[in-house]
Amino acid sequence: MVLVSTLFQALLTVLSWPVVGFVILGTLFGILFGAIPGIGGVIALTLLIPLTFDMNTVSALALFAATMGGVAFGGSVSAILVNTPGTPPNAATCFDGYPLARRGRGSEAISISATASALGAIVGIAVFYLTIPVARRIILSFAPPEFFWLSLLGLATIAIVTRGNALKGLISAGVGLLISFVGFDSITGTVRYGFGIDYLWDGVQLVPVFIGLFAIAEVIRLSTGEGTIASRGTVSTAGSRVRGIRQVLGRPRILLQSSLVGVLVGMVPGAGGTVSNFLSYVLAARTSNDSPPFGEGNPSGIIASEASNDAKDGGSLLPTVAFGLPGSAMAAVLLAGFELHGLNPGPELLSSNIFYVFVLLTSLVIANVLTSVLGLSLSPLLSKVTTVPSKLIAPAILVVSLEGAYVLRYSLGDVFVTILFGFLGYAIVALDYSRIAIALAIILGPLAEKYLYISLQISDSGLGILFERPLSLAIVAIAILLVVVPTAVSARSGLGRDDVSDWLQSKTGVDEPQATGDADGPEAEEETSEAGERGYLDRIVAGEGLSFDSLFAALVFGFVALLLAVTPAYPADASRLPYLVGVPTAVMSFALLVRTLRAEGSTVTRSVLATRRKHLLAAVWILVLFVLIGVAGFRLGTLLFLVAAYRLQANQDWSRTALLTGSVWTTTFLIFEVVLRV
C-alpha cells in the first residue's frame, strides 16, 4: 500500500507545474536528438546533466526520463521516412517502416510506431514495478557465461537472417566480427589491426557504421535523381492515424511479446538495446503469419521493433537503480545524473527514496504518451518528407548524416568511416550480402569475447563453465529453438528457401535488379552495348571481365587474409577469437570468390548500366563532400557542397539552388549549433 500511495504521489507531482513543463521539454528534446542520426540519447543526457546543476531533483529526473522516452520514438521517425535509424536500436524499424513509407503510407507507419512505443514503454515500466522486490535475484542470476550465451543468441539471429543466402550472410557476420576486434584490447593491452593508424586504436565506432550502412547507402540510391521516396510520389494520410492505432491494437500478442523481450533483455546489463530489437523482430517474424511478408511493410515488424525499443528503457532502469549497474549506455549516463542530485543507487533508493524512482518511471510513461500524441498529430505532416523529390532530399540527408557522425567526437576519421561503410552498405545490398549480419556482429563481437574471457578465468573447469549453469542451458535451448526447429519443420514440409531470410534480404534499398552477372533475357540481349564501344569507366561500371560480385568477393577475401596474416603477432588471449572467426571466414570467402569467378560471363542491360553510372557518380559526389570538409572545414565545406550538388547534380537554377542551400545549411546549423549545441 505504501508503494501504491508513493506511486500516486509521484504521479501527481509529475503532472504539476513546473515538473510537467520539464517533461514536455525533455520529450521534445529527446525526439529531436533521436531523430538526427548519430546524436541519440547518450549525447542528449550528457548535455543535459550539467544544465540541471541548479534544478531541484524532481524536475531534473523528469527531464532525464522524458528525454529517454523521446529519443526512442525520434529515432523511429528517420528510420521510417528515410531508412536511416536515428539510433542503432531503431535499425530494425527500417525493415518494415521504410517499405511502408515507400508505399505512401509513412503517416500510418509513424502512427504505428507512436502507438507501439507508448504501449511498449508502459509494459516495460509495469514489469519494472512488479520486479522491484526480486530485482537482486534476477540481476545476480546472470553471470559471464550467461552474457556470453546471450551474445551468441544475438549472433544466432544472423543465422536466421542469412539462411536463404547462407554463404554471403555468414561471410558478412565473420567480417563484422573481425571488424569488431579492431582497436585496443583492454584484456591484453594490445592494439589489434591498427596498422599504425592512431584512429583505429579506438576501434570502429558503432554510430558511423550504422549511419554509413543505412543512411549513406540510401543516399546513393536516392541520388539516381528519379522520383521520390514514396514510390508513387504521393502519400496517403486520410485515416492513417486511426489505421495505425488499429494496426497495433489488433496485434496484442506481437505487442506484448515484443515488449517482454525488450524489458527482459534490457534488464541484463551489457546485453544492449539493439540486440533486444533484433531478437524481438526475428521472434515476431518467426511467429507471425500475417501479410504482407516481413520486410515489405508489415506493421508487425514496426510494432516488434518499437515496442521492444521502448520497453527496454524500463528494463534497463532496474539494474541501474538497484545496483548502479547500467543496463544500457543511456542508463550509464543517467547514473551520473543521479549522483549529481545526490541519489545513490541501492537499497536506499529503492526504499526511503523510492519516490524519486517513481518520478522517473511516471515521467517516462508520460513522455511516451506525449510522443505518441505528438507522433500521431504530426505523422501526416512528417510523411510529406517522402514526397520531396529524391534529388533534392539526398544532399540534405547526406549533410545531416555526416554531421551526426562528425559531432560524435569532432573527428574527420569518423566521417571517413561513415562514408566507407556507406559504400560498403551499398555493395552489400547490391550483391546480396547482409547488413544486419555485419551490424549485429560488430555490436556483439566484443561482448562475446569479453564474457568468454571472463568465464574462462573464473572457471575451475575450463570451457565446462559454459554448460554448467541452468540459465546458460536455457539460453542455449532458446537459440536452438530459434534456429534449428524452424529449419527442421520447413525441411519436413518440403518448403524451399526460408521466408524470414527472404523478407529480410528483400529490404534492399537498391532499385536495380540484382544483375551482377546475369542476363535479363532476350530483350536484354538487344539492348546490350558492345564492350568495345565503351571506355574504361563503362567497363568497370558494366562489370565486364571481373564482375562486381567477383571484385567484391576478392576484396573481402583479401581483407580477411590480411587480418589473419598479422594475427600471429598478438598474444594468445588476443588472437583466440580472431583465429576462431577469421579462418572459417577466409575459407568461406575464398570459396565464394572461386564460385563467382567461375560464373558465366555477364551481359548488362542499358538500364542497369545507366543506374550504376548514377550510383557511381553519387559516390564521387560523396567523396567530393569529404574533400571539401577536409579542406574548408565542416561548415564551409558543406555549404560549398550543397551549392554544387543542387546546381550541378540536381540541375536547379541559381535561385532555387540558393534557396535550397540556404534552407538546408541554416537548418543544420540551427539544429546542431544552436539547439543541440554539440
Binding site: F53, S186, F323, P326, L340, G342, P345, L350, R409
Partner: protein, 328 residues
Amino acid sequence: MKSDNSTRREYLKASAGVLAAGGISGCVGILGESSGYPSNEIEWVIPFSQGGGFDQASRALAEFMPNYLPNDVNIRPKNITAGAGLKAATTIHRAEPDGYTLGMLAHVQTLLHQFNNDVPWEIEEFSYFGAPSSSIYTTVTGTDTPYETVEDLRGADGIKVGVLRPSGSLAISFNALAETLDLSYEFVSGYGGTDELYTAIARGDVDVAQGAAISASDAIEGELGIRPLVVFRREVPSLLADTGVASLSDIDAGELEAVGGEIRGCCAPPDLSDDKREVLEEALTETVDSDEMKEWAENTGNVINPYTTDEIVERIESTKELLPEYRI
C-alpha cells in the same frame, strides 16, 4: 655631400631602430598574447569514458574554470578513450603548446604506458599546472566471504582478484599489496568498470576486487554486500570512516600510497610558456577553492584533494621509482 661615416651612422641608426622596433613589438606581442590568453575556445582531453571519475572532474572544471580565466572562453571537453589513456596522452603531447589543448592524465597509468609501450613521450615532459583530485584505491570483498580483515587474506590460496585490466594501475596496486603481504592470488580481468567488479563479488565470481574508494563507499552502502579491507592511503579517508577498513599505515605499507591511486594531473603539451602556465595554475587553484566546485563535490560524492604542480612532479618521481618493482 655626406661623408661615408655619416652614411654609415645613419645606416646603423636605422638598423638599430628597426631592430629595436622589432624587439619591442615582439615583446609587446608576447605580452599582448599572454594578457590576451586565452582568446579562443580551449579543448580539454579526457582520457577515459563518460561518467567515470576523470570525466566528472574534467567536466566540472570545464564548467567552472572559465569563470576564473582572464577572458570569457569556453572549455570543450573531449573524451579520447583508446588505449586506457595512451591515445589521450599522445594527443596532448602532439598538440601545439599554445594553451588551447589541455587535458587530464592518470599518472600511474601513463607511466605504465611509458614502460610497456613504445611511446613518443615521457611523462615528465608534459606541462602540468595542478590537479583537482586523485582517486584512492581500495581492496574490497563480499560480506559473505571468510575475509573480514586484510590479514585474513594471508594464507588463503589462490584468491581470485577482480580487476579491469591485468596490467593496469588497479592490478599493479593489488600486486604491490600482495607482494608486501605475501598473498597467493590470480587476477580475473576484463570487467568494464568497478560496478561490474562489485557485482562479480556479489555473485561469487571473484573473492576480492580492486576499485576506487568512492565507488566502494557507494557499494558498501548498497545491497551488494561489499566490505572494504584496505584503503591505499596512510590514513583512512573520511568517506570510508567507520567501515573497519585498514589503512596502509595499519599494515606497515605506507610506501604503497605512490601506486594507490591516480592523480588527475591537468596538463598541456610540453614547452607551454610560463606565462600561460601561470594563468592556468591560478585559474585551476581558484576553481578548486570556489564554492561552486565544493558544492559540486558535495552533491556528486566526489572528493577534492588538490595537488600543486610541484606535488604532481614529486609523486610522479616516487611512483616511477616504485613501479618497476611491482609491474606485471
